[in-house]
Amino acid sequence: MEKKTEKNEKSVLRVVNLTKQYGSRNAIDRINFSIKKGEIFGFVGANGAGKSTTMKIITGLAEATSGDVFIDGKRLSNNFEKCIAQVGSMIETPLFYPYLTGFQNLKYFAKLSGSYKRSRIIEIANLVGLTGRLHEKVQNYSLGMKQRLGIAQSLLHNPKLLILDEPTNGLDANGIREIKNFLVRLAKQKGVSIMISSHILAIMESLCDTICIIDKGKIVETKTIDEIKKSCNRFGTHFIRTSKPNFAGMIIQDKFNTKARIAGDKVLFETTEKQLPNIIVELTHNKIPIYSVSEINYSLEDIYLDVIGTDNAV
């Protein structure tokens, strides 16, 4: 009997000690995480880390060796139909019936889900940007169009939880931007929880609320974006560009009791928003030319590589 903590009640998806064994190898090993309502959850990892495997188990495509999946508080293995009705998914490359049009494919899946409404299909097609090509046979679709169709089919039945495996695969820059905006709207306005996996970290960084890093079947790190950024203040929060970095660094260290690091013409240091103007004044006072002052932006890539380790050669 699980303890009903506040988190449990609120989570749309909860994965407990999920393990999947293929032969002697653990594809995933005791995975634990949960997703709240309206949260965009990013699953980050190298190829073969276990992202797809986890998603396949959550959507019922594969069976876990041990562990549990709870969707909206109900155990998936006992209530498959009820649980999966809340889930929309697109796992790996979406595949369709080539002899049917995009519309006919969506109609088929909508009928399977028990609710076919022509207007809804058109609406979703508009949302994913497929309107013009909806009535062409899928065998003539490009990868990007199939991807859009894949996202469309995951939305047909108004799911509470979306599981998207590499949703931006095959999309151009415009397409990526559209999908991103669309997903954010879904999450924030409609309260749909979204679980995305991708290895394009830039997208994840700007899209997700929480990042979960998985490596060799195990979860290495699960943090919100803010937490990640806060915890990575190794080299400070701000930097200035100056022609006298050493002198500047010395002043900052001595006068403000904070470590400064020199990198070329940049001086990196940690400070608060309140303190920053004082530093600038002090530097200017000492006749140090300042060419720019910025916050240090840590990219997710930095964090990821740091967490995984540089010897993560594939």
């Binding site: 069976e63 889930v87 790996e92 399977l112």
Partner: protein, 592 residues
Amino acid sequence: MKIFRLANAELGKLLHRPAIYIMTAFLALALVITAFTFNPQSKSDNLTNFGTPTGSVSEAFAIFNSSTTATDSKHQLETALNSVYQDIQAFSTSESEHQNLLDSAKSVNALLTTGNANSLPEILYAFINSPTTTNRTALNNVLEATNESIRNQALRVYNYCAGLSHLNNIDYYATTSEINEIETVFLNLASAIPVNIETLSNEQIVETSENLRTSFNLSPTISKIEGFKKITIPSETITKITTDYYDNIKYQEGSDTLLTNLFEKIENFAHINGASTEKADKTELNKLITEYKNATYIAISLMQNSFNLEKAGDYSNAELKKYIGFSNYNLYNINEQITLNQHLLDKEMFHGEYRTNLNFGVLSGAEPSAYDFAFYAVQILGIIIAIFCMFFAVSITSGEFQNGTIKMVATRPYTRRKLISGKHLACYQFMGIFLLFVSIASLAIGIAMNGFTFTSHILVFNADTVLTLPDFVVFLIYLASLALNIIFYISIAFLLSTIFRSSTFALFATFLIYFFGVLFNAIASASSWLIYTPFAHLDLFKYLGNASASNGFLAINITTGANFVVSTLVLLGIIFAVQTATKIIFNKRDIA
């Protein structure tokens, strides 16, 4: 229900594929070709043909009544009936043959074994102990007589055994190999006995005699002969058979037997209309004669079959096959014929106008029916429909795995069991639609060919119940049995598709099994182990048979010793097992 939703969606997809239209066109084409090749031979009413075109009724009657050579003449019919009767009587008296065989064998053995004063060893020892000329002469004499006797007896047994393999009427259960063994033993014995004793020296005589004594221990052979199980039919049973089907039936002037009464009808008619030369009257005469003939043959069949049934004893078909004289026994058919003929006898249906079994393109009986073509067409097109169904089953299972859409389907709110059940249902609907289409179309063509004519059939169910059913009921029953047959193969197709994700392989394997099933009829015999496979039980329609002709090209002719209930349970059981296995495997396997 959710499964129906799945099935309907599956079928709905089909409409967008060109394949379905090709299949329908192919089927329509096949139907048209079938219509052109339908050439039913009107089975004649089996009417006799007495009389000449210009002759009178009384002339025709005279030929029937007096001729000893004309086919179906009264005399010929009586002879036929009589000979069966004689055979049966002969059986009761032939019991001595077995005893003769045994006696011969025993006497030979006695002559070769010690302990008998006249036996070869005794005389031999006497000579050996005292090889005087007198003793030699005595030995010669006795040897000659003895050898003669042994030789004759041995040859007698050998001849009897040799003859046995050609006989149909034997009185004990023996296999061919057993008889051959005995035959060989006695043949060797007879060959080993020297014909000319005087020419042999003393030593040779001793050697020959010792040889005979030691090499030919006939005890095992005699045990074998004694061990033969006798075919026993209680004499009361034989009496009943002959009373029911001979004494009460045969023509006997002044009596009240069946044939006497039928003959009187013929006689009276001939008397009244004797002068007429009208074709109609001669036909009427022949109709009455045909009744007489049919009654005779019904009696013959009943007598012969009842007797055969008794001879078969408690053995099953498979067991019987190995015994001499029983190799073409088919107990199911024998029972079927008895049931049918008894019915015809009881109801006095001697006109032969009842419809016999639905044959492959052969019209039987007197009236055509709109359903004739329908039966013919569905038998042929049923094969095509079965193949289409297998294609469909494989394509919506293996095919879906291969093109990956199974991923999209498996993430819908259906348990795996429901998914595969929905596919099964879609396939059944698919089959049903095609069967309906072919049935209606072929019936329409049948009506175009024969008009709105319908008839009824006399059929024997499970060899023990006679049913008189109208055309459309028989047709529905046939469709049901065909559907069940196809469902068997559909289930196999699904199982193989679930196990092997490759469409090609699953399809190939399913077709292999299907064609084996279709050809099973031709390759299996009732004594082979094949009758224990499910293939022997796939055609339930064969249990609704009619004894007079084969059950059509595709029905299975062999008998398995099973009955309708057994076959139904086996068939349903296998289908259930296969489908359960499919569900379990589909449930367990990871998709993607």
